[in-house]
Amino acid sequence: MEVGQMQSRLADYTKSLFMEGILDAQFLQLQQLQDESNPDFVVEVVSLFFDDSEKLLNDIARALDQQCVDFKKIDAHVHQLKGSSSSVGAQRVKNACVAFRNFCEEQNAEESRRCLQQVKQEYYLVKNKLETLFTLEQQIVAAGGSVPMIELSF
């Protein structure tokens, strides 16, 4: 596959992520912050997001497993996850967190567990999609091409 084809494939793939609501405009903001002086900015931030999220998801799972569930602590974790997913543009993760917080407020353990599953699902989805996106970018760069700025007309 030559560079031009790879680039259109990447563009289509990226657009689909926006269409499906997996990513939102904040992700575009991150891309705007990337340049020759900071060529790996997006990957770096997203990696931090992955590490942060996985830790939070584990903490939440552990807290839900306790005899006495500390909803305040769980809410704090979910709030954090909501914040970081919002900052990277992981829209569906963010929305799942919003729903989760409502159940934390109600101190509903069963619904909270369901929400955790939902958040995890959205998280692993966006993780998978972004990893694919980064791989596509790498392939273009390896083939001597450059990664084009996505033009989206929302």
Binding site: Q26, Q29, L30, Q32, L33, D35, N38, F41, E44, V45, L48, F49, D52, A76, H79, Q80, K82, G83, S84, S86, S87, V88, G89, V98
Partner: protein
């Protein structure tokens, strides 16, 4: 002096200060989230600010030399802070509490403080503005939000815009009626507070805030988004 120099270098390492360039304004960014810190740092640097990013209100106060327990006797003269941007929701000290502490300090209360929050709560925004915050940015923070920060800068070389200078002057006039000079007195070294009366309560400025509301201001933004109070 030798001891002080060593401490300051270690503290500089701990605080992750970007290289010194006297032309750029220096922003102290406070956020407990590592992801957000990385983003805000990049947003600021790309907008030509020098950045120091810390992870708590406590660290911010330490950096400024305001922490009661850990007095940084080292003067960060070369690292004057021109603006503080802080997250609201942080464990330990909230951004609001940090704002109050800064506004209570005769040395630092003139530094503009901007609050960031993911929650678009009117009461919260009001409270922060009343306490003297320049602006309230709803997260996620965008490039356009950061570019606006230049308006709040307090630089003697006239980088700040006229409207913000006017706004700051208005507040000062409410505080100190004897202020006749057109330039707000920003001390480059914290010790020179000759034009300020330490006895003035910083919160008195909140009595009648007649701050102009440009299109981008939080007040305007509030009016545009009153329907989505809950995230």
């Amino acid at each position: 002096m030798e001891g002080n120099f060593v401490v300051s270098r270690r503290m500089i390492d701990a605080f992750d200060v970007s290289p010194s360039d006297s032309e750029e304004a220096h922003v102290l960014a406070v956020d407990d989230s590592l992801v957000d810190r990385k983003v805000i740092e990049r947003l600021l640097k790309i907008s030509s600010f020098k950045v120091t990013a810390v992870d708590s209100g406590r660290r911010a106060l330490q950096f400024l030399g305001l922490d009661e327990e850990k007095s940084a006797s080292v003067g960060f003269d070369g690292l004057k802070v021109d603006l503080i941007i802080t997250d609201y929701c942080m464990p330990g000290m909230t951004g609001y509490e940090l704002l109050k502490k800064i506004k209570e300090s005769s040395t630092f209360r003139e530094i503009p403080v901007v609050i960031m929050s993911s929650e678009n709560v009117l009461a919260r925004i009001d409270r922060c503005l009343e306490e003297g915050a320049e602006d309230f940015i709803v997260k996620p923070v965008k490039l356009s939000d950061v570019k606006r920060l230049k308006d709040y800068m307090m630089r003697e070389d006239g980088v700040g815009s006229e409207s913000s200078r006017g706004g700051i002057n208005k507040r000062k006039l409410q505080d100190c009626c004897d202020l006749s000079s057109s330039e707000p007195s920003i001390s480059s070294s914290p010790s020179s507070s000759s034009s300020e009366s330490p006895s003035r309560s910083p919160t008195s400025s909140s009595s009648a805030p007649s701050i102009p509301t440009p299109l981008d201001s939080p007040i305007r933004r509030l009016k545009m988004t009153t329907t989505d109070l809950i995230d």
